[in-house]
């Protein structure tokens, strides 16, 4: 089971990139945390989400103000 921002998520996704697409995340300015690890977008396509265990994903907007 996938949990996105603490909510169960039933979207089909084999990788983080597929999940980002299914969630319709914007192409820029979004951070994705998988099981406590913040992963660069460049690694999303090669990061699998095997369904033999739960995965906890956090999505948040990067900000640049000061």
């Amino acid at each position: 089971m996938l949990y996105v921002n603490q909510q169960p998520c039933s979207l089909p996704a084999r990788t983080l990139a597929e999940l980002a697409e299914a969630l319709a995340l914007p192409a820029q300015g979004v951070a994705l945390v998988l099981d406590q690890q913040l992963l660069p977008r460049a690694l999303w396509a090669q990061t699998p989400l095997p369904d033999d265990r739960d995965h906890y994903i956090e999505v948040f907007q990067l900000v640049a103000g000061g």
């Binding site: 820029q28 660069p40 977008r41 990067l62 900000v63 640049a64 000061g66």
Partner: protein, 276 residues
């Protein structure tokens, strides 16, 4: 043993002993920690809602030297968050006003003000002269530039970012992932205070969290300093939500490096890392 510094003798004056007496009481090594802070030289870019309180805390705590950079002038809309400025300062250069007010707070630190926008060469020289960089800027190009300069110079980067109801901190060193690993340099939809607004209390909270980490790092001895703060981590503030009490506070995430990052990835020609 303390490193040599042109800015301060490795001792405290009587006036400094009295001024910092409450800090000196914090453990048996209070004096040596205060002396390490007195030897420290930092570069702070951005004197807005984050930069004002960070600079104030560092100067009041007794930092040795701080260089302040901001090319903006004080505006009326700054005043709710930027406590170094007063209504009568509107239209004046932030860096100059902030430096003057900080000197009134504490005459001991060496405070420099850069009110224009230094070019990359000038900024590189300022980076070389400091122990670490503090990014409190309000735009992506500046953040990417400081990230690249810090990485090229081998200096730690302490950064805060706030907009809307979001607050984030990232702590990077040459041994960790860099900011550009996470952020597309061509990111156009800038999320800053001008576009999203900002919560004044959240700005203050984030600034003091950043200042606390800076003091922890600068007052640690050389052996424990690398582990004094969570380098290679990105933190974000999670507001209290009813029914989710475990999610409030700052949450830290280790950042995995992008092996093909245009800034920090190993390459044959490392000098290209500063090409911002």
């Amino acid at each position: 043993m303390l490193p040599e510094s042109p800015f301060a003798e490795p001792s405290l004056s009587d006036a400094e002993f009295i001024r910092y007496s409450r800090s000196l009481m914090l453990g048996e090594d209070g004096e040596i920690r205060q002396l390490r802070l007195k030897q420290a030289k930092v570069l702070l870019l951005g004197l807005g809602g984050l930069g004002c309180p960070v600079a104030t805390t560092l100067v009041n705590a007794g930092i040795g030297a701080i260089t302040l950079i901001d090319s903006d002038v004080v505006e009326l809309s700054n005043l709710p968050r930027q406590s170094l400025y007063q209504t009568s300062d509107i239209g004046q250069a932030k860096a100059v006003v902030a430096a003057a007010r900080l000197r009134q707070h504490n005459p001991h630190p060496h405070i420099s003000a850069v009110k224009g926008r230094p070019d990359t060469h000038q900024l590189s020289q300022l980076v070389q002269a400091c122990d670490l960089l503090i990014d409190c800027s309000d735009n992506l190009p500046t953040r990417l530039q400081l990230n690249a300069l810090a990485h090229a110079a081998g200096k730690p980067l302490f950064a805060g970012a706030v907009s809307g109801h979001s607050a984030q901190i990232y702590l990077l060193s040459p041994a960790t992932a860099c900011y550009q690993c996470l952020v597309d340099p061509n990111w156009q939809a800038l999320q800053n205070c001008r576009t999203l607004g900002v919560d004044p209390a959240l700005v203050a909270l984030t600034a003091q969290q950043l200042a606390l980490l800076l003091l922890q790092y600068l007052q640690a001895d050389s052996a424990t300093r690398p582990a004094a703060v969570p380098f290679g981590h990105y933190g974000r503030y999670l507001a209290w939500q009813p029914g989710h009490s475990s999610t409030s506070g700052f949450r830290w995430y280790p950042v995995q490096a992008d092996p093909n990052c245009g800034c920090c990835a190993p390459r044959d020609n490392p000098s290209s890392a500063t090409g911002v």
